[in-house]
């Protein structure tokens, strides 16, 4: 009886550990595709295949998001000519909330709107803001939760590395 319980437990643990083992060996996974409206048209992730894409999820009520916008503007200006595209996906329920925020900060990068949060679910967003770096082959190579000015140097070197590849 107890032998059976132990072996079942071991099997369960192994099955839990399996994804971690797979993750270590395989290529980075493809980012979930999206097609979202912007203020002028729409943005399709698949059409950005030759670019390095920084996807950022934000909302107008989120204070660190406000903090992250100037930094993302700098990234867009610094690495844009080398092939970085910043797509900031807004998750506000009401469009006017986002627009008031955007009027104030006037970002130079693409802003898409996803009030239903479908993209955020697909990207498994766990914190606001969350940023994802997608390489030129459409693979998710880096994820960052929240925004902390202390982390920006490490993040920027990761962007630079992908852009220069």
């Amino acid at each position: 009886m107890s032998g059976k319980v132990v072996s079942t437990g071991v099997l369960l643990l192994l099955s839990l550990a399996a994804p971690a083992l797979r993750g270590a060996a395989a290529d980075p996974p493809l980012a979930a595709p999206f097609d979202l409206p912007t203020s002028t048209g729409h943005v399709v992730l698949d059409s950005l295949r030759t670019k390095v894409v920084l996807v950022d999820f934000w909302a107008s009520w989120c204070a660190p998001c406000r903090q992250s916008f100037p930094w993302m503007s700098t990234m867009a200006e610094r690495y844009g000519p080398r092939g970085l595209v910043v797509v900031a996906i807004n998750l506000d329920k009401q469009r006017w909330q986002a627009e008031r925020f955007l009027r104030e900060l006037a970002p130079p990068f693409l802003v898409a709107f996803d009030p239903a949060g479908k993209t955020a679910t697909a990207f498994d967003v766990r914190a606001m803001p969350s940023s994802y770096l997608i390489n030129r082959s459409g693979q998710l190579v880096f994820a960052h939760r929240g925004f902390d000015p202390k982390d920006t140097n490490a993040f920027e070197s990761r962007i630079a590395e992908e852009v220069l590849k």
Partner: protein, 72 residues
Amino acid sequence: MKRVLRLSLALALPLLAGGCATVRPWDRDLLAEKEMSFNPCPMLHAIDEHVYFSKEASMGGQDASGGGCGCN
């Protein structure tokens, strides 16, 4: 008897678990809405309280300090 207890516990647990919810990070603004607070309208609440304890003729029946002198 013990079996009934165990069975009702087993039934109650999933029911209680139904009360748990994961709030998605981008929905947290909804929790911060005024309507979601415990006392969304303090002034209206104060008036309601006043009417309540006046009718009950007992001051301090709820959260106000004071004795039951009826001098409301």
